[in-house]
Amino acid sequence: MKALRNKLDQLRKPFEKGQKLEKFAPAFSAFDTFLFVPNHTTKKGAHIRDAVDLKRTMVTVIIALLPALLYGIYNTGYQYYIQTGSPFTFIDAFIHGAWKVVPMIVVSYVVGLSIEFGFAVYRGHEVNEGYLVTGLLIPMIMPIDIPLWMVGISTAFAVLIAKEAFGGTGMNILNPALTARAFAFFAYPTYMSGNKVWVSEASSVDGISGETILGNLAAGNQVNYSFMDMFQGAIPGSIAETSALWVAVGALILILTGIGSWRIMVGGILGAAIMGFLFNLWGANALMSFSWINHLVVGGFAFGIVFMATDPVTAAQTNKGKWIYGILVGIFCIMIRVFNPAYPEGVMLAILLMNVFAPTIDHYVVNGNIKKRQKRWATAQNLKTA
């Protein structure tokens, strides 16, 4: 360990101030601080600091994502093998899934991190860890058969337009991972919907097809899955969104560690449940009469509300605002699903829409505090003049 540290200190030399590679210091630091928490001490303000930092926060989110990701990889293989009819084991399914999913993750990280490193060097700030999560989220919410170059282009679009154009980490309005998906969705619609993209190899092998449950409902078809299937996630869909069970495990990790906002998650589930219930009462089409409890476990709702809506940068930032934001995400998600058969997956659009309105929600919440203060001042003034 000591030897590694000495080696790093030696390697760092050309990156130090006044040296040849000074400009690339952020890139070097990113690697160095990945191995060691630096020896920086407090300079002003409080002399002691909490052990938590952004790196640890982001790594915790990644840990929370792992159950859903691993299940998603398995499900990719599972959906493929039950369609081909050949016998398979758990390992076979997992290997098939990994063979398809890992390249997508690699593409997303390579493209996204290259841009992040470039901007860090260009702007002279440290590389922020936010992309570690974004880069994993992007492949997780894509259909399995999307070509790798589309993943790359969507990632580049999301990082450049949704994030860096707004000033980088902490400044963006829209969730970058969802922006990547929305970009792919509108730029390459044939690769993002229909019955040929959700199951591995469906695009190339004729015998294989599979539509998502919401897609089937929107098209007016019958759905032959039970609630347990949907909850467990052995259904076609974007890679890691299908299993409400494993998403719930991730949610638990996020809530127990305090990293994800439970207010947004609970608010979202409440909003969606109430909206779903109201549509059940109305029941004018297949999607409307789809039971509200099923609405909570199919499609990307669970994944979206747990991992995407809770992105602290793009969500509402005040505690009261988080409730309102979460509830509205839930309501709009079900509303878009039901009213717009072209977009059966409502949660993506619902979250992006609420991302845009989150600052407005916060504005009104904060204004409440300001108004209270101004009212108090006004009363004090009246007392004095009276």
Partner: protein, 451 residues
Amino acid sequence: MELIKAIQTRRGAQLKLKGAAEKALSTAPPSSTFALHPDDFFGLTPKLSVKEGDKVKKGSPIFFDKKNPDIIVVSPVAGVVDQIQRGAKRKIEAIIIKASSKQEAIKLKIDGKKGDADHIKYLLKQGGMWPFIQQRPYGIVANPSDTPKAIFVSTYATAPLAIDYDFTLQHDQEDFQKGIEVLNHLVETPVYLGVSKSSPGFFEQIQHVNHYSISGPHPAGNVSFHIQEICPINAGERVWTVNPEDVVNIGRFFNSGEFSGQRTIAVCGNGIRQPKYFVTSLGVELAPLLENVGKAHDNVRIVNGDVLTGNRVSANGYLGYFNTVVTAIPEGNHFRMFGWLPFKDNGVLSLSNTSFSRLFGSKGFDVDTNLNGEERALVVTGEMEKVFPFDIFPMQLLKACLVEDIEKMEALGIYEVVPEDFGLIDYANTSKLEAQDIIRKGIELMIKEVG
């Protein structure tokens, strides 16, 4: 004791640190030199009344505020002005006074019958006692020509390793009562005296005050929070605050006519071998004290004040004007391999649930000055609110200060806070944002632009 209000909060955090001082008052080793630092008085521009080599008595004026010559800071000891230390642009950093063996003091004649506010103020100013009275907003020395809306004294201290006033002032109850009577002449409503809900100590026997109780974790002991709960400050209003020991000092001054600058301090922290309480005076040398308690090793940082809000000081430095603790903690200039990995380092104090540190360390934590990460963009939300009991949006106020939007700062409550209220936010926030520094600059801007 009749309470006018019981303040309760759950927002905040009590940091459990090792190295609390043993509860026994020791006599401090004698100090051969004393120092006054104009920087201890936020917003004050010093103008010297002495030069190097001048003889001074205890109570002789040393410097005064250029903007308000009524605010006079006096010598805590008789002796000779040994040195005037200046920094960049000839800024006065410290005035060092060498104590003489013969202690003489300036003695004012106090007429006990005269009780009008103007006369009391005159005496406090002449006796050099005025700087003990602080003003909110801004946390600066009060302006003697103001009449405050209220005076607050809080005896509930919650900062890490803070002293227990009931213990440190146990022999000073009479002087405390006298000090309260004096302060009562300066306001219409009697002094608001905050006591701990669970252990109010002798403060519940103090007469002629409005008692209120407080319970909850740090920063519940911060007087800004009490003011906001009981008598919030509106634009243009003034509230004064006095530290408990300075109430004692004021009382003693009115009994004897001599300047009193008693400080009962704890020298503590996990960088100290034998943490102790000392009865001493403001401005004393730290070296003899540190020698008495023993530093754990050489790579230790000495802090004038508590670890959240104090100022770094060298081992040959001096006790600050208002500090009641001197904390020493090891420097954290070391690397931690994979230290960012959740649940890896559970021995590092943390409020976050990304380690199991909550389950450990019931005996307290050894802390050091490592930043535990690097500065990053503001990403995580809601964590500041958890440690901030005020009815203020902390992150929004910090952002308003960063962009110097005065109107917004005013609307979001800059008048109701001082930097120390953000100490725990400094500590807790994931992005390693320097919240106290931002608020301090914000307040400087307000003083300049609004006054």
